[in-house]
Amino acid sequence: MSDLANEEKIKADLEKEFHGAVSNAVVQRRNRVWLDAEAARLPEILAWLKARGLNHLATVTGFDEGENLGASYHITDTKILVTVKVKTPRAEPTLPSVLASFPGALSYERELEDMLGIKIAGLPAGRRYPLPDDFPTGQYPLRKDWKFVPPAGETEAK
């Protein structure tokens, strides 16, 4: 396993530092580490990773798993890519904002609010992204139960 020493070390350090808040950590292959985390401690974990030199939040993938919604934060120093996965109950989906350590995450967090309806605690007021201003409220296109219904009478352009 010596060629995966860096990856194993990040995993072990995370498990030690955030004992109890981090689970299912795996080194998938070279340069890829995956883990599940407690949503409440997400900003802390991200700040810790940033201090370790993984200071680029590449993107955030929101997802819908039925009972839970959630998001995967892909953090990297362009070499090692760590994916931190957090979940939040569908009934009241809320995740803490990570803007304190990653100001560049603004559009990713707005996207979570817009496309999946996950409330981001601590996100400053501003224009929505990426849906238009007059998009109906309470509709979240990336949720699995949201279906695209073509407008009545519209035929596909041939």
Binding site: W34, G104, R128, L131
Partner: protein, 397 residues
């Protein structure tokens, strides 16, 4: 001096694609800028969940017309990783070749756009003429100039013959000579220097803080390149340099791209000379086992990242695409602040923005349930009301 907010875009003669900047001006100087996006959102991530992996290949190719190969390569790397497919070396080499040809055509295109924005239209004419050479190479090899469709799951769709190899090398040789001229121009021509130096500054810390990628970040001294840091395809076997610059301005972004062209030519020669023999594709099952994969790719504009989750069927559970422009736009707001209004088009162009990459979700209002055609008067009214809500009154005009 009183402040005035003016909207720049989404439709503006100086912008090539729809995006909106609300600029707060004090005289001619910008004191604040906010960016609004979403005008191109086409719902691709949602659409991908309804399509099979092979159908998605054609959808993902259309994320962008310039880095179509970047997106498909990033996507199929994920698919092949989950399918545990052993892609032949020759196929990987051909993909790398297309990746570099694409970088050349994209950087030449950018040089032209930058020349145009700084009022140096001869440069635009020159680089776009020369760009035809590389587009011809792509057409020769794939049959297409823009959406090359060379990738398929498990390999590539077309092989390269010895004649094609010689023709590509001939054209690249011509481009190498031309690029030396562009480098001379970019670093010595007074018009270029006057228009680019100290314009749109982005210091190293801010570039890191705001997550800038690609040439935009490298021009601020951030030595990051996925090809070097997390090598994919056959980049670990190739010899090239990561180009950085430390002037943190539009000039730096110009130099980085011009010198990257030279590195790409070097790579193209290496790939063509050392093209491994063997098959160009393997069969991959239609259904992927459940699992997750995430991969990044150094597109011409910077790091492109795709995440894929498979659920055991022939369609993805979730596909996420983050194109480089979205990562760079947070930096643009910073670059504009404190700058001059006249520099805005150049500063925006300097990150080489690509809006169709950035916006990818469809917008449709299910409550109305029909397609509406606006008359000119209605359209105008809509626009005036829209901006009124945001504090700008165009009603008097």
């Amino acid at each position: 001096m009183s402040k005035i907010t003016i909207p720049f875009g989404p439709q503006h003669p100086a912008l090539k694609e729809p995006e909106n900047f609300m600029l707060v001006l004090e005289g001619e100087q910008i004191s604040g800028a906010t960016i609004n996006l979403g005008y191109n959102h086409r719902g691709m991530e949602k659409a991908a969940e309804d399509r099979t992996y092979i159908q998605n290949l054609y959808l993902i190719e259309r994320v962008c017309g310039i880095c179509s190969h970047s997106h498909t390569t990033c996507y199929i790397t994920n698919v092949e990783e989950l399918a545990k497919a052993e892609v032949p070396q020759r196929a990987l080499a051909i993909r790398t070749l297309f990746g570099e040809l694409e970088r050349v055509h994209s950087h030449l295109l950018w040089l032209g756009v930058a020349g145009y924005e700084m009022g140096f239209e001869t440069l635009f004419m020159y680089t776009w003429r020369d760009r035809e050479q590389v587009l011809d190479c792509l057409e020769l090899l794939s049959g297409n100039r823009v959406h090359y469709s060379i990738n398929t799951i498990g390999g590539v769709r077309r092989d390269i013959t010895a004649e094609q190899k010689a023709e590509v090398k001939k054209r690249i040789k011509y481009l190498e000579e031309r690029t030396q001229y562009y480098i001379k121009l970019a670093t010595g021509e007074p018009t270029v220097l006057a228009r680019t130096q100290d314009v749109g500054r982005l210091p190293y810390d801010v570039a890191i803080e705001r997550g800038a990628v690609g040439p935009t970040a490298r021009a601020s001294g951030v030595a990051r390149d996925v090809r070097k840091d997390d090598p994919y395809l056959i980049y670990s076997q190739l010899d090239f340099k990561v180009i950085t610059h430390n002037t943190n301005d539009v000039f730096g972004r110009l130099v980085v791209r011009a010198l990257e062209l030279v590195e790409s030519y070097k790579l193209i020669h290496q790939i063509l000379d050392g093209l491994p023999e063997g098959p160009i594709a393997v069969k991959v099952p239609w259904k992927l086992p459940a699992g997750e994969a995430v991969n990044h790719y150094e597109a011409p504009r910077g790091e492109d990242i795709h995440y894929l989750k498979a659920n055991g069927t022939d369609k993805p559970e979730r596909l996420k695409v983050r194109a480089p422009t979205l990562a760079n736009l947070q930096s643009v707001a910073y670059m504009l602040e404190g700058g001059w209004l006249a520099d805005v088009p150049l500063v925006i162009a300097a990150i080489d923005p690509c809006m169709s990459c950035t916006d990818r979700a469809a917008v449709w209002n299910p409550e109305k349930g029909r397609t509406e055609v606006y008359s000119w008067e209605e359209m105008r009214k809509l626009g005036i009301e829209h901006y009124k809500r945001r504090g700008v009154d165009f009603g008097r005009l």
